[in-house]
Point group: D3
Chain length 222, copies 6
């Protein structure tokens, strides 16, 4: 059953994957450059290849479904629906993306970073405890309780989380300063990588016994 | 009474002013650089001066009030509450901002550009007609009807609008890819500048008679 | 006959189309990357694909003809010859372009923006009235009469124009801070888009009667 | 005694703190802009204020001591001597920094990220196991054993480590693509923040019992 | 008499000094940020401090005099009038500059680089031989004869020159992709630096006898 | 025999060729984008095409051999082994590169620039005299004697050199702020270009007699 943990986390965050971008996205060199999926191609570029602008339509800039609550019946009580360049091709070269996040009571976006994007969150419903930690050596923890209509900034690259501390579901929208901000969930990347990181490294890094590392790698590797 | 038009437009868009930023905001060189208002200073920099990071608190990254409907009892049936670096100091150097937009029935964000930011809009309530026009010489018009939960992209620098074509109020959130994306409302900038643009220029540019230009300058200059 | 208006405007500005770039063009990653036209290709990139550097010659960095006065016998009394990456392939990745502008007496570059480029103009002959308008809410109008040898800056993204107020022809060179700065002529984009913008939007945005909008859409749509 | 752990980690990584920068550092606008410490100032800028270029000397671009082995007699068996803009003022605006890293046998740079810099490491002595983990959802682990003269790349923002698996001391130089790449050590930021992150968040994020979190917060908070 | 050489070169290029910028200038974060000279200040920033935007006038974006031929009665037969951010404060943050170049017959812009800007030259009068050399190891020489109305691109950072091979004076305008592109004249920097470079370095670098180096250092140091 | 000079210089610097990049490299839009050599392709992009990320392995981020002294038995007493994107494909999009430099006694990296990268050098063995010259008009020469463990910064685009003034071999590592910083060796580019620069240009630029130019072109063209 523990094996299910990582799976559910993966499902919950799947849409965030291969995403996240930020203030440093290279600038556009034309009005737009709608991404195409060249699934048969063996070559790639920084960002995405684009479709012929003459074939572009309004639908390339459109996506629906952000009104639909996600399924939060998982270990984290969480659902993330990220509208990034993989889902909304029109975002290519434009340096922004958007996510709807649903939290069950006690739902959590576990500690993670976006390596290419600052996150700007607004609460639509419920009460969240939000926080981020600054870099070494101070590792200052900035935290705030957020209610409906409150906005909070999570600076690019810093470890952060949102936790539903209310008694009801919570909903938030987050915009991110990249077409593909990327998400690195601490627990997944550290204990659930593929293949697993050598236990000796984790034992020394976290100053824990081998059985704790074994337990965590079992949980998050799934 | 016509004089009131420009005034109301100004009120409605006041919060968008001196704002809007985009994919090309210079990248941060530290975790964060919270803006300060040096109101007595006679010097400025590209962006904002920052406060001492040791004095920074969670409140620098926080603002409330995006749950509150704006007052749309004005000529445009519009209210825009923009959370940019002027309102939320923690956004400085981070390349993103956010707006809540309220529309009365027939409410309109009139044709405008953001010179420094792509806009990514999500509809919370109501039905909007959204559109943007590409650059010369094609000037293609991309348009889409948006309902609750729909998302649409307005690429940086292109003229665009949102129009409430439903019978109820509409509400949307827009994120923008700059700490200060800037807004240029066509009618205001063209016919309501301070001082007014020489009528001969407008007459020739729009191929209209002088009385039409006089009329428009009277309305939008207020 | 009115239909001719838009056509002529289009002709006059055709060379400016799909052009103009700025301070934020992504930097080069090699000495040069001369653009190629992959006319049969179905894929594109941000900017342009480049030709094999070993096949590059001096001619890729060369173009002639900026000494030839353009034909200003059109509605605007204007001719623009823009040397951008579409005409001068060697400009690709290098963040700059150049235009020769000819004005008949009363000739006008009608109100327009360059979404990706600052414009730096120098007058070679004649007398121009130049101006630009800042963003909301101030919409300040900065204007200056320019004579032979005078230089003026039009900051990226702001609405601007040049008007020949002398009795003779005028000639100017403008350099722009992008390989493809882009041009958005207000009248064309607002009233001449393809398809036309819904008249209700224009009526409300500009506070005019429907017949004025009909008239303008007829003129600029052509 | 456990309290000592975090202290030592902090000492070892202190020089890495408030550092690390990358491919996206804003470009220089003059030959150089040597940083000054305006310790009495209450204002800051993105990056650093600079000294008068006329007062600049060769010493502003110079630092010594990278031949001196660091003291690795600490919990991690690690010493990091980072030459970033805080130590070498001449690096300001120039987008690069450098570190000497000493490892005792079994010495470890514990799992960490640089939010603003790619790391390019070369081994001078000894044998290191190096690795990094990609972002969600794949969390692929790339790892390699490195000997004298071997080079390895750690892409910006990804969690990575180096572990001395040889029987002797190891020494490496790392260059980083920012004047201030920043370092976020996972264990320190997650379990040693100031103030501590709410245990409930950590319990849920890592699926461990409260006593494990208590233990880790005690160790790394110190 | 030889001493005069360097002096004249310095005069001719003085206006190019502390200039030259390129495709990578950091982007603006507001409509404009007009440079101020804080002559009494002991601190500087990347680029320039700016004046209060409310005090900005059209004159900040204006300069005159590019119609006036420069004095070419010097060793190089050359005069350069560069309009960069030092002369035209409105260019600050906007990534572009402009120069008028006058050549006597046989006049020469000696081999030089712009470390921060691509140069886009248009010939107004006369006949120039223009050329640039690519980087190692190919060091390909691209050259072209340019007449009135011809345009040529000199990619950022590459060594280049323009030589008046006609029998009359020549005039050209060059735009550069930076507010401060910088100029490094080979002869001045190599043989005329202050203090001089150690002769042994120059002897070995150029494979010449000491007396040749002595001669060149005497000429260009002046 | 003199012909051999240029050849040897070319050999010594061959690995530096088509390389060197800096603070302005465009930022990555995904975790990594490992370069591929599309040797049969007729199209290129700014930077490099990338391989399928699913086919990427740790070896793409790895290279060995920086422990091996280069062969300095050549005219310059120099060997440069540059690890740039051409050699280490994993560096693509990541804005950094690294070189090992070996000097025989009196060995010299002759005067050169990196148009796209700042260089950060650390001495491993021996004693180097290092220096760089600022841009016009000051052409200030900053110089420093460097011993084992000393670090020196050479700002992007400025002419610089390193000279072994000790009695033994010297070794240094240099990191550069670009995936392809580029190198332009003054002597090679000025006197050894292909085809040669017109002697009249060189005679005038350096104020020397034709026979000196002939001699230098013979030496460096080889």
């Amino acid at each position: 059953m523990m094996k299910g943990v990582h799976y559910l986390v993966t499902v919950a965050l799947l849409t965030l994957a291969s995403t996240l971008a930020f203030a440093g996205d290279p600038s556009p060199l034309q009005d737009f450059c709608v991404a195409i999926n060249n699934t048969n191609s063996v070559v790639f570029v920084n960002g995405k290849f684009c479709k012929d602008p003459l074939l572009t339509t309004a639908d390339d800039f459109f996506i629906s479904g952000l009104d639909i609550p996600g399924n939060t019946k998982n270990q984290l009580g969480l659902s993330v629906n990220l509208v990034n360049v993989d889902k909304l091709a029109g975002l290519n070269t434009l340096g922004i993306s958007l996510a709807r996040i649903d939290f069950a009571p006690n739902g959590l976006t576990p500690l993670h970073t976006h390596s290419r994007g600052t996150e700007l969150l607004v609460v639509l419903e419920g009460t969240l405890l939000a926080g981020f930690v600054t870099s070494d050596p101070d590792n200052r923890f900035f935290t705030k309780t957020l209610n409906r209509g409150d906005v909070f900034v999570f600076p690019v690259g810093l470890i952060h989380f949102q936790f539903n501390i209310g008694e009801t579901n919570a909903v938030a929208f987050s915009s991110l300063s990249s077409q593909n901000p990327g998400v690195i969930t601490m627990a997944n990347a550290i204990f659930g990588s593929n293949p697993p990181i050598n236990p000796d490294v984790l034992i020394k890094a976290f100053q824990v016994y081998k059985n704790v590392v074994d337990y965590l790698q079992k949980i998050f590797h799934g």
